[in-house]
């Protein structure tokens, strides 16, 4: 199948087409060119990450040398160490993890529940509820953060975990994802359970949820990603160091006194990015599926 001039948009075409001899001769150049461009491109794309890691292990003195050294002369983990000794990395990390994990669990449960009602039950107000969910899909955080701040403050929740978690405990996108998948679950499966005397809660927990692995994985990953990287709301809602999430801590150091302490900042960036990047490489199938679903909803 690889006897055609690239770029050819569909492999099936290659198989069927009768390549002219002149084209066959051009082929290796074309393919080599594609590979070259892709390899150079992907290296460029990953260069910022490489540069980040290299910078994070340079000494404070070396990182100020001009022009910059490429390879660390005297690799050190001091920059990482300072996150633990001078700054409260453990606390920031714990906050990020607690917020992300609770947010994910809440989304998995609550979005599934309402998704189930919307997909498999008939009730007054169903259409209105679904329409509302769809409309709210497009409301960005920047529109709601000011009144949300006022609400959370008047409840006395400012600078607490509930303030960081509650607003994200469900999301319209999750409801949509779960509903779409559950629509495809065959009715007879649930009928059978109903005849056996199972209530709705039991059917939901024992029949429907076990079938929902794929959308739950996608929703869980998307939610974790969103929570881990979330910035605007935590920046507003976390007022003291003990409530900062990782991005908030990093952003405040990077704009405060440590603004030019690049060793420290790059080590911080490594600490924020690495967990997500590892998760991504391990579960890339779901990530990409998730984005495709979001994009093509």
């Amino acid at each position: 199948m690889s006897t055609m001039t690239p770029p050819s948009p569909h492999p099936a075409v290659d198989r069927l087409a009768q390549p002219a001899p002149s084209r066959r001769r051009r082929l290796p150049t074309g393919r080599a060119l594609t590979y070259t461009v892709l390899v150079v491109g992907v290296l460029l794309w990953l260069l910022p990450f490489v540069w980040m890691v290299l910078g994070s292990v340079k000494t404070q003195r070396e990182i100020l040398t001009k022009p910059p050294t490429i390879w660390p002369q005297d690799p050190t983990l001091d920059n990482f160490g300072r996150w633990f000794t001078d700054l409260n990395f453990g606390q920031f990390f714990t906050n990020s993890v607690i917020v992300a994990v609770v947010t994910v669990l809440g989304n998995l449960l609550f979005c599934s529940m309402v998704g189930y009602a919307l997909a498999k039950m008939d009730f007054p107000g169903k259409k209105a509820l679904f329409a509302l969910v769809m409309i709210m899909l497009m409301v960005p955080g920047v529109v709601t953060f000011v009144p949300l701040f006022v609400q959370v403050t008047s409840l006395g929740l400012l600078n607490t975990y509930p303030a960081l978690i509650l607003p994200f405990l469900t999301q319209p996108l999750g409801v949509f994802l779960m509903r779409q998948f559950m629509l495809g679950i065959p009715e007879p499966l649930m009928e059978a359970a109903r005849i056996d005397g199972a209530g709705e809660l039991r059917i939901f927990a024992r029949v429907v949820m076990p079938l929902c692995g794929p959308p739950l994985a996608t929703l869980g990953i998307l939610t974790f990603l969103g929570s881990w990287n979330n910035f605007l709301w935590p920046l507003v809602a976390a007022q003291s160091q003990d409530m900062y999430t990782l991005p908030v801590a990093l952003s405040l150091y990077s704009t405060g006194q440590q603004a030019t302490d690049y060793g420290l900042l790059l080590a911080g960036a490594v600490l924020v990015i690495t967990p997500i990047l590892l998760l991504f490489v391990a579960l890339q199938r779901y990530f990409v599926q998730g984005i495709a679903t979001v994009g093509l909803k």
């Binding site: 001039t5 770029p7 050819s8 948009p9 569909h10 099936a12 075409v13 290659d14 594609t34 461009v37 892709l38 491109g41 794309w45 990953l46 910022p48 980040m52 910078g55 022009p67 609550f110 529940m113 309402v114 009602a117 169903k126 509820l129 709210m136 899909l137 409301v139 955080g141 920047v142 529109v143 709601t144 953060f145 000011v146 009144p147 701040f149 006022v150 609400q151 509650l166 607003p167 469900t170 319209p172 709705e200 990603l225 990287n229 910035f231 952003s251 990077s254 704009t255 790059l266 911080g268 924020v272 997500i276 990047l277 991504f280 990409v288 984005i291 495709a292 979001v294 994009g295 093509l296």
Partner: protein, 284 residues
């Protein structure tokens, strides 16, 4: 009623943390609400359209609209072009390292904007990696983030780098759904690869392209973190986005005013989203 029991947790969270703020943000934009009114939110004065009038009378707000507009109008086509080129390359029958390429180009998408902004600020320093590399080929690079000319393009460049992966995945899915028969017919007619791309693939890909454009522009319209970490909206407001402006006014305690600014942004995003729904419907 069982159904509403299932919906209850969602309805509570959704109602209290999304719907109420959305409505009260709108209401606040017609009041003189400030940080001093938090304890007595109903004692504020109704000021009609005053906040909006003040907003559009503020040169900095207008500047922020221009900056956001530039970010979107320049950023979207560049992101799309790069993503499409990559998708076509990845779909051109190469088999080796295909998923490695995909993972590589997609990796920036999953990273925290704050963290990568820190990294990019380091790269774009006057004596940073980029200027050193430019120096090797005899170009003296500017002080990217301190230049009113180059700061915004630098942020756009980073946004392109970070978002290409999303569109690449979407476009790749679109390319793979182009029917093989159509391509075959074009091959039979002796169309060159470039001709086939322009006359067959591209028109068939149009809905996907439009969709990608809308999807990304909703995100680009809200750009904030990049400006927060890399430039603080400067120099001389050259990277002051509307979201950053809103945040800044909020920081000054002018909540009513900030709400008005955020609603202008919301209007733009809502219009784009409506367009997206229209596109999707025409796709089905």
């Amino acid at each position: 009623m069982v159904a509403w029991m299932f919906a209850l947790p969602f309805v509570l969270v959704f109602g209290f943390f999304m719907l109420v703020p959305l409505v009260s943000s709108f209401a606040m934009s017609f009041t003189d609400f400030t940080s001093r009114d938090v304890r007595t939110p109903f004692a504020v004065n109704f000021v009609g359209l005053d906040q909006y009038v003040a907003l559009f009378g503020d040169a900095r707000f207008l500047k922020s609209l221009g900056v956001t507009g530039t970010f979107v109008i320049v950023g979207i086509p560049v992101t799309m072009a790069v993503a499409l080129a990559l998708a076509v390359a990845l779909n051109s029958g190469i088999s080796r390292f295909r998923s490695a390429f995909r993972v590589g180009f997609y990796a920036p998408v999953v990273t925290s904007i704050v963290a990568v902004s820190v990294v990019w600020r380091y790269i774009l320093q006057p004596d940073g990696l980029l200027n050193t590399a430019l120096g090797w080929v005899g170009i003296e690079g500017p002080n990217w983030l301190s230049s009113t000319t180059w700061a915004l393009p630098s942020l756009i460049l980073m946004a392109v780098w970070r978002n290409v992966g999303t569109l690449m995945v979407i476009f790749l899915a679109g390319l793979q759904s182009v029917p093989a028969e159509v391509q075959e017919a074009a091959v039979m007619d002796g169309a060159s690869p470039w001709r086939r791309f322009r006359s067959v693939t591209l028109p068939l890909l149009r809905p996907t392209l439009l969709l990608g454009a809308v999807l990304i522009s909703v995100g680009y319209l809200q750009f904030f973190e990049e400006a927060f970490v890399m430039t603080q909206g400067g120099p001389l407001d050259s990277t002051l986005s509307t979201a950053f402006y809103t945040f800044e006014q909020f920081g000054f305690g002018k909540y009513g005013f900030a709400s008005a600014a955020s609603y202008v942004l919301f209007l733009a995003i809502a219009l784009l989203s409506l367009l997206q729904f229209r596109l999707l419907r025409s796709q089905d």
